[in-house]
Amino acid sequence: MMSEVLSDRPTTSRTSALSARPSGPEPVLRVQNLEVTYYTDAGRAKALDDVSFTLSAGEKLGMVGESGSGKSTLALAMMRMIKPPGRIEAGRVIVGDTDLTGLDDDAMRKARLSKIAYIPQGAMNSLNPVMRIGAQMVDAVKSHMNGESRSSIGDRCAHALKSVDLDASVFRMYAHELSGGMKQRVCIAIGILLNPQVIIADEPTSALDVVTQRQVMETIDRVQKEINAAVILIGHDMGLMAQFVDKVAVMYAGRLVEVSTVREMFTDPKHPYARALISSLPNLDNKGVFQGIPGLAPSLLRLPTGCAFHPRCTHAMDICGTTRPEVRMLASGRVVTCHLFNEEA
């Protein structure tokens, strides 16, 4: 179904502008014009609107944005795991030289985990409580690879557990015998079983204490280096982003509003929403000062005209209420979706 929708959609010039970004090596991941709608009783909610970006092997991208802005939807869409009433309306996801959107269901099932792996939000609570960890790992390998021998599957699992710094004895344990951080590392181990080229981790540490967070992130870092994968880290913790990623992408109401290097994002954010987000970060010098962004996130069912952020934006101009801003690449190579930068592009 999807490939039909896709084949008659021309690649827009915007996409080529974006992929032309001089980001060194050939990208291992290209997401082009991805669009997802949830058909709810109350109407159509466009949860993902024309999202494009690229990522190279070994690169780490942080995906941030308000709750409900579409981050998990983006991950699910990339995995082709959007369920009804949601639908992928358009777009392509290309890993290496495989266009995932063109694969049939069976091929896609195999591509998950072997080309692109997803560690879902709340993953550690989704481990099966009555199955040993090892059996769950073996199942994961079997369902994605036919004909691998038992001993080689065993080796694979042992290696994965070792890469996440877990004892081999975990293989024979049940989920309830593990702490939160250990469960989370099991999920990462499952994610890397088949050496995927792209790993998407959706809030992998939001339930963990800072010490365990550090261990989990150090684990992802080490594993990524080992298999030279690209990593997308979805999350809210800007501290974690500052410490871990190379690039930061900011989403707002289903659109990517800015993509910058981590240094640019923290020292000189461009999009007014990104600026507000950065200045809302707590530190130890201004106790009790809460700098949230006033106003509510827009309803996806009734998006404001023009730029979806304009009702909350302190820099809003007339054009912002009427015209939807284009995704633009600034001279510096940064991507910003905002009328303030129309001249700089």
């Binding site: 709810t40 339930a207 809210h236 500052a242 410490q243």
Partner: protein, 334 residues
């Protein structure tokens, strides 16, 4: 001054397995007093498995202590009946940790919110009920018309978490136990929700126990903090002092591991010693990971008073006077 809720020398031990019983001491000898007329915000921090949720469950009366007592307005909570029990259920509210687990997937958001309104007869009319729901949802940054009528699986993680907070706000409790209430929302919303909680304490006299691993937000809203490690209090006191000059090696590791949103302040200088699950529970529980461990640490360290609002359970401060466990609350500023 009347006490709202008191924990008196409470311990909780979970045993598992019938034959080869292995006991987990989830909480060890904790005493805590929350006063009626001194609304405060107390943070309980500590790593995964340190007993934070266990503490919340005990305070809510959802699990019973293995030893010790929990007293609500002068009465042991296990003996509450009728009206008193109802009052306790309403006055002590919780925001539970996992927004993915707490909701019955077959009920809509409306249902989740109207049940408590009806149960505690909070509204005079249907319109009044709707107003209250709208108010609570708006306070956590949700649009009522967007989320009412939806099922939990149709909401994002952070949206679910906020429904949880809204439900607790609706009930206007005296004590709110919030177990990681904002772990899944962005910094800006986090600021808004925490400000709502702070105002609840300041303007409406609600005490809040904020359970979190996020020491930065804890610093911003709380007056005091208790740091737990494997069920035991490691350090406690005024939050500014504890976070800016932690004394216990465990708290030092925690503070060192805060990921700062600052590129110049790199994460974690101290290496992390793996937690050894088989480590003995004799003596200081942090001993096997502690860079400063000494011979004496094999005997359980008492709390030492560092100053009027600061105490640590560590022999590095053995010169200082001891604090009896049931006097812990006296070192926590209200």
């Amino acid at each position: 001054m009347a006490n709202l809720l008191e924990l008196k020398n409470v311990s909780k031990v979970y045993s598992r397995g019938l034959i080869n019983t292995k006991a987990t001491i989830a909480l060890q000898d904790i005493s805590l007093t929350l006063r009626e007329n001194e609304p405060t915000i107390l943070t309980v921090a500590g790593e995964s498995g340190s007993g934070k949720t266990t503490l919340a469950m005990l305070l809510l009366g959802f699990t019973t202590p293995t030893t010790g007592q929990i007293i609500y307005r002068g009465k042991n909570i296990t003996t509450l009946h009728g009206k008193q029990r109802m009052a306790f259920r309403r006055e002590v509210q919780a925001v539970f940790q996992d927004p993915f687990a707490v909701f019955n997937p077959f009920y809509t958001v409306d249902h989740l919110l109207t049940v408590p309104i009806r149960r505690f007869k909070l509204a005079k009319s249907r319109a009044d009920a709707r107003n209250r729901m709208d108010e609570a949802l708006t306070a956590v940054g949700l649009r009522p018309e967007d989320v009412l009528g939806r099922f939990p699986h149709q909401l994002s993680g952070g949206q679910r978490q906020r429904i949880n907070v809204a439900r607790a706000l609706l009930l206007k409790p005296r004590l709110l136990i919030a177990d990681e209430p904002v772990s899944m929302v962005d910094a800006s919303l986090r600021a808004n929700i925490l400000e709502t909680l702070r105002n609840l304490q300041r303007d409406h006299g609600v005490s809040i126990i904020y359970i979190t691993h996020d020491l930065t937000t804890a610093y911003h809203i709380s007056k005091s903090i208790i740091v737990l490690y494997r069920g035991a209090v490691m350090e406690a006191g005024d939050i500014d002092t504890v976070i800016k000059s932690p004394r216990h090696p465990y708290t030092q590791l925690l503070v060192d591991s805060i990921p700062w949103p600052n590129l110049e302040k790199r994460w974690g200088v101290q290496p992390i010693k793996a937690r050894d699950s088989g480590a003995s529970t004799e003596g200081c529980r942090f001993r096997s990971r502690c860079p400063m461990a000494m011979e004496i640490c094999k005997t359980p360290p008492p709390l030492f008073r560092i100053d009027a609002h600061h105490t640590a359970s560590c022999y590095l401060y053995a010169e200082q006077p001891q604090v009896a466990p049931d006097h812990l609350s006296e070192l926590l500023p209200a």
